[in-house]
């Protein structure tokens, strides 16, 4: 079929490319440029070209600490989300029922509810007066309410639940490409369910695990609302520090520098993912 010609194509593409140029490409370029500026002691921005922000970041122990916190949070959350989502995806893969589709939709449906709302739910659940602590006190597991929120633990629990649907989505899609027959063949040949899982199911689902882990890790590294609200202002990550510098201390060159370093971290993660995927494929 003869599609639109060059002139018409250009006309059709122009509006969206204009939006992208003004509100995406120009801002990203401005951000990169801003990271090379400095600030005066009073806070005024000095237009210059220097890497002093980067060297200060790398020399400051505090920034290494928040980078460590960010990575630790992301790793724990990614592993936890995998541990939550994998049994669910495996169950959906093996379950032969007309309810399989609706249950799969239910699994990813929390994605459609705002992260702020779900974070609020966790603040209620994990609070001193919340149901989790009510249960702990009632069971006599502890004499005083456990500190489950306003700390790192709270951020881990909340973020795990918030990112689990992404992991589930990747795993369900990965399982969708598998054939139930492979598991059945192993079982018919006398493998125990555990051996079947370790030698057949798990290796076949590895690409889905990697994709889900990439998604969760990247989203956890850059998450802001949940660590901020459930961390109670006591959990400092790269994302909360960007916001702090950008909106509260108004040190835009510093905020821009942390942003650029976060993008570098994303780049490294993507490269690592590519390598792992190739290794798995072989």
């Amino acid at each position: 079929m003869k599609g639109p010609g060059y002139a018409l194509s250009a006309l059709l593409m122009a509006p969206s490319l204009l939006v992208l140029a003004v509100a995406f490409l120009l801002p990203v370029a401005t951000l990169a440029r801003m990271s090379l500026n400095t600030t005066m002691p009073g806070g005024a921005i000095v237009e210059t070209i220097t890497l002093v922000n980067y060297s200060e970041f790398l020399a400051d122990e505090f920034y290494w600490e928040i980078t460590g916190t960010t990575l630790l949070l992301a790793v724990i959350v990614t592993i936890s989300a995998l541990l939550v989502a994998y049994p669910i995806a495996l169950f959906l893969f093996r379950w032969e029922s007309p309810w399989r589709g609706p249950l799969a939709v239910l699994t990813i449906s929390p994605l459609l509810v705002s992260g702020v709302v779900r974070t609020y739910g966790w603040i209620v659940l994990l609070g001193d007066q919340g149901p989790v602590n009510a249960l702990v006190l009632w069971l006599g597991l502890s004499a005083t309410p456990l500190k489950l929120s306003n700390n790192f633990l709270g951020a881990v629990i909340g973020l795990t639940e918030i990112l689990t649907p992404y992991m589930a989505l990747a795993l369900i899609a990965g399982f969708g490409r598998l054939d139930r027959a492979a598991e059945e063949a192993a079982e018919t040949l006398g493998a125990t369910p555990w051996r079947t899982f370790i030698h057949v199911t798990l290796p076949l689902s590895l690409p889905g695990i990697l994709l889900g882990s990439l998604l969760c890790f990247v989203l956890a590294v850059s998450s802001f609302v949940t660590p901020r609200l459930l961390g109670g202002g006591r959990v400092f990550t790269l994302a909360t520090e960007i916001y702090e510098a950008a909106m509260l201390t108004l040190n835009w060159p510093l905020a821009a520098t942390i942003s650029m370093l976060m993008l570098v971290l994303f780049g490294i993660t993507l490269v690592a993912y590519g390598r792992l995927m190739r290794a798995v494929a072989q």
């Binding site: 639109p4 059709l12 929390p110 209620v124 007066q129």
Partner: protein
């Protein structure tokens, strides 16, 4: 692991996944002046409180207006772009598709700062124009991707037939291509609306005394107070989302609409 134990584990994990939504629904019917569990009394007190909250009311109206305009513009600019990329024959189409979906790779916290740095120079901070432009960047990729997928799975047979029978290219698009793309477009529209309506991190950078959005107001409220009012408001928002999802499910199916 036995079958029963595995099923019990799965039920437990679903409980974990859905617990924040369930507790929000329960606590929204609390009649206590503060958060406590279980509530000592039940009622619609906090729903009435939400209905009378002028801050939330104004923010909800802004969010609704922004989401509607963003959805309209994202469709108006994204669908033609997807059409040109899939049906056109100019070089570099793959690169343009990658460019149009690139904003999704950027963390919202970074994009928010980047947009703020540009908008603050041209006076677009805390304006509808600025907020809409910023939301367009994160909704356009969905529209382009979903409609491009919908379009590329359409066989051009029907369009060729229409052209052979003497229809003009515009008539062919209007009466053949567009109706066939409609499920994808509806899905993209719904997703756009939800993404814009729920967007919080990007909006945090662009709100001000003159303009705020509902998710930002909820965020600010939760930052300092946690009473059942947010639960009642959340239930209203969840109901709106469920209604929207049921609407899409009825017309196109959720999984198809998400382009999976």
């Amino acid at each position: 692991m036995s079958r029963t134990a595995f099923r019990a584990l799965v039920v437990l994990l679903y409980g974990f996944l859905l617990s924040p939504l369930l507790i929000t629904i329960v606590i929204s019917f609390s009649a206590d002046p503060f958060l406590s569990f279980p509530p000592s009394d039940w009622g619609f007190r906090w729903y009435l409180e939400v209905a009378g909250n002028a801050t939330f009311g104004a923010a909800a109206r802004s969010s609704l207006l922004i989401a509607l305009v963003v959805t309209a513009i994202a469709l108006g600019t994204g669908v033609p772009a997807a059409y040109a990329i899939v049906r056109g024959s100019f070089p570099g189409r793959d690169a343009l598709l990658a460019l149009l979906t690139a904003p999704l790779l950027l963390p919202a916290i970074v994009l928010g700062l980047a947009v703020l740095l540009v908008f603050v120079r041209v006076g677009l901070v805390a304006t509808y124009q600025g907020m809409i432009l910023a939301h367009l960047v994160v909704t356009l990729p969905y529209v382009v991707r979903i409609t491009a997928v919908a379009l590329s799975t359409l066989k051009p047979d029907a369009e060729e037939a229409a052209l052979t029978l003497g229809a003009t290219p515009w008539k062919t698009f209007r009466h053949v291509t567009l109706p066939l793309m409609l499920p994808g477009i509806i899905g993209a529209a719904a997703l756009c609306f939800l993404v814009s309506f729920d967007e919080v991190v990007l909006s945090l950078f662009l709100t001000g005394p003159r303009l705020s959005t509902l998710p930002v107001e909820i965020y600010r409220y939760v930052e300092f107070r946690t009473d059942p009012q947010i639960a009642a408001l959340s239930v209203v928002l969840i109901l709106i989302t469920v209604a929207l999802v049921v609407l899409i499910e009825r017309s196109v199916g959720v999984m198809r609409a998400l382009g999976k």
